[in-house]
């Protein structure tokens, strides 16, 4: 992601895509948000938010409904004025500019394609509005062709949005944003209206195009899988604040707060602490990932029970088995706690007895991570 390409000097057709992908021009600007604050209806929606997105980086704003992620995105796009704070794209302060003056382009949740215009006209509309310099019709047509080639939609250029599928509409919206050669690309829940299979395909497409063009991108999503698979970094938001801003793997392995640990992936959340492989009550919270709970079924009728309990943890009974495709989720009852475990391979049946061991766990105090522990 060291170079950025443009759609401006491309030839029509499939060649255009190659031209678009191979013509290095200017570098995408980064995004720097400082002290962003917004109160709506007497409630603080965004609370002194700071965030820096490096040029060419893809960052996700991830959080539950109502955490303020869309409000943040709308303030960055210019649709909502913050009560305080600064928003810089590249070196330019944009906080006082309207959306039409900002160097950003947005892909909306419902795509917001204008139904009275064809796909090509939708994509060409931002170019038609350019004043300095004013673009000729042939240049606009070329750039539209190149943008549509980039998202594989040239064959649909004369179709109305109502005539194309949801995935194609999504790609049209993406082309309309990319044709503007924005310094910053904003996507508001871009995949939430697509079915599961198409979602995976389109998110790969978006990531691939984003990397090819090296465009600084901010995506709002509530889908952790989407954020984890696409992003260079993820900002996990909660109640108007960023709880943690890290790479996907760091978020998962070292969540800074109990909220992040619960929101990203699955977690056994128990009051107390782990001592000698056993959960004991007390102050604090312990978090155990289900994949860090190992279950061994007792297949010899308890003959070697003593040996098992020493090596494989405490006696446990399987209460529920939930198949999840390539793995299954077990609901286990131990004498100290109820635990969920992920297992692969042969599945125990409900009521099966065995032993469950905790391999790794996270200790939280006052909602913050205190330490990560690994069983000896």
């Amino acid at each position: 992601m060291t170079t950025n390409q443009t759609l401006s000097s491309s030839a029509p057709g499939a060649v255009a895509a190659e031209a678009a992908a191979s013509t290095p021009t200017r570098r995408s600007g980064g995004l720097d948000v400082r002290g962003l604050h917004k109160v709506l209806g007497g409630r603080t929606i965004i609370d002194s938010l700071d965030m820096t997105v490096q040029p060419g980086e893809l960052v996700s704003l991830l959080g539950p409904s109502g955490c303020g992620k869309t409000t943040t995105l709308r303030m960055i796009a210019g649709f909502l004025a913050p009560d305080a704070g600064s928003i810089k794209v590249g070196d330019r302060e944009v906080v006082h500019l309207g959306p039409e003056q900002r160097p950003s382009a947005m892909v909306f949740q419902n795509y917001a394609l204008w139904p009275h215009m064809t796909v090509a006209k939708n994509v060409g509309f931002p170019l038609k509005l350019r004043k300095a310099p004013k673009l000729s019709k042939s240049v606009i047509a070329e750039r539209v062709e190149a943008a549509l080639a980039l998202v594989n939609l040239v064959h649909h250029k004369d179709s109305r949005p109502a005539r194309i599928s949801g995935g194609e509409q999504q790609r049209t919206a993406l082309a309309r944003a990319l044709v503007q050669e924005p310094e910053l690309l904003l996507l508001d829940e871009p995949l939430s209206n697509l079915d599961a299979k198409l979602r995976v395909k389109v998110r790969e497409d978006i990531r691939e195009i984003q990397q090819r063009l090296g465009i600084t991108t901010l995506i709002v999503t509530h889908d952790q899988e989407e954020a984890m698979s696409m992003s260079d970094r993820i900002a996990v938001m909660n109640q108007g604040r960023i709880e943690q801003f890290s790479t996907p793997s760091e978020l998962y392995s070292a969540p800074a707060t109990e909220f992040v640990a619960t929101f990203i992936g699955s977690l056994n959340r128990l009051e107390g602490r782990v001592e000698d492989g056993r959960v004991v009550g007390g102050e604090g919270v312990v978090g155990i990932r289900p994949e860090d709970v190992v279950f061994v079924e007792d297949t010899d009728g308890g003959v070697n029970g003593a040996r098992h309990s020493a090596v494989d943890g405490l006696a446990a009974t399987v209460e529920r088995v939930v198949p999840r495709g390539h793995f299954a989720e077990l609901y286990l009852r131990r004498e100290d706690a109820e635990l969920r475990a992920f297992v692969t391979g042969a599945l125990p049946s409900v009521g099966a007895r065995g032993y469950a061991r905790i391999e790794k766990w996270l200790d939280f105090a006052d909602g913050k991570l205190v330490r990560q522990e690994v069983a000896q």
Partner: protein, 286 residues
């Protein structure tokens, strides 16, 4: 399923239209017999070949041609004024909202609850030689023109009566344009007027066209407003038809006028059908 309404329309609308068409072409037998006996200046067809005598009477009559011209002009001017006002109110409500927007859209609907005949008298009194407006101007030593019994009051009255329905239609059409469509246009770099002209109005185009056609057909066939507030001549065809039918006892000529209005209205109705078709096409239904 569709048969009962079709039979109803055929019996109570289609059949009388055919009967009237026959009468206008000189077929005076059967159910047209009585009226052709009572009426004056009735042209009769020779056997099966129709006569265009009644049409000929009117199209050389300068009075009719003047009335036709006035009808078309009043319809055009009033419809334009109604659509511009309704769209303006709708846009204000959409983009600014607030108390003023609500007051404007509320006021625009008030005429719906005032009978046209009362409104016509009020308009007449307001603009008459000894009316409110001239009296107020006279206090300041100014002379305001007399607008009562002129086409000006007919236009004002037509706008007054047509504005509520058009405002309801257009406002709801404009409100239905999703905010995201407007945001997307602004994000693409569009100014306020560009958003209005390229996105909002085209997207609400179908309701606006439907409001236009309803308004135009309503004004074209209006009677009460021009009858009460308009001049003796030239006046709109609705009033003229009534005069020809009852005062001049020339029912055949009155029916011909009705057909002329009907043909103009059909043209407007074709636009309505086209607008609905376009709407269906945009939503991918056809």
């Amino acid at each position: 399923m569709a048969l009962p309404p079709i039979v109803l329309i055929a019996l109570f609308i289609g059949f009388p239209i055919l009967l009237a068409l026959g009468f206008s072409l000189g077929f005076t037998g059967g159910l047209n017999h009585t009226i052709s006996v009572i009426g004056q200046n009735v042209h009769e067809a020779q056997g099966a070949s129709p006569t265009f005598g009644a049409y000929g009477d009117l199209f050389v009559d300068r009075r009719f041609l003047g009335d036709l011209g006035v009808t078309v002009i009043v319809t055009l001017v009033s419809t334009t004024a109604v659509v511009v006002l309704a769209t303006g109110i709708g846009l204000y409500l959409k983009f600014r909202g607030g108390v003023l927007g609500k007051i404007l859209s509320g006021l625009a609907v008030v005429p719906l609850f005032i009978p046209v005949v009362i409104a016509s008298w009020a308009i007449l009194g307001f603009y008459s030689a000894d009316g409110f407006l001239r009296s107020v101007f006279a206090l300041a030593g100014l002379e305001f023109p007399v607008w009562s019994f002129s086409m000006v009051t007919v236009i004002i009255g037509s706008v007054w009566t047509s504005l509520p329905f058009a405002t309801l239609l257009v406002t709801s059409g404009l409100q239905a344009v999703p905010q995201a469509m407007i945001d997307a246009a602004r994000d693409a770099g569009a100014s306020f007027w560009r958003v209005v002209t390229s996105v909002v109005v085209p997207m609400a185009g179908v309701p606006i066209i439907i409001a236009t056609t309803f308004t135009a057909i309503g004004i074209l066939g209006s009677f009460t407003v021009p009858y009460f507030t308009g001049p003796n001549s030239p006046n709109m065809l609705g009033v003229d038809m009534s005069n020809y039918f009852s005062a001049f006892n020339q029912p055949q000529q009155a029916v011909v006028m009705a057909f002329v209005v009907f043909i103009i209205a059909s043209g407007i109705a074709a636009v309505y059908v086209w607008a609905n078709f376009r709407s269906a096409k945009e939503s991918g239904a056809v």
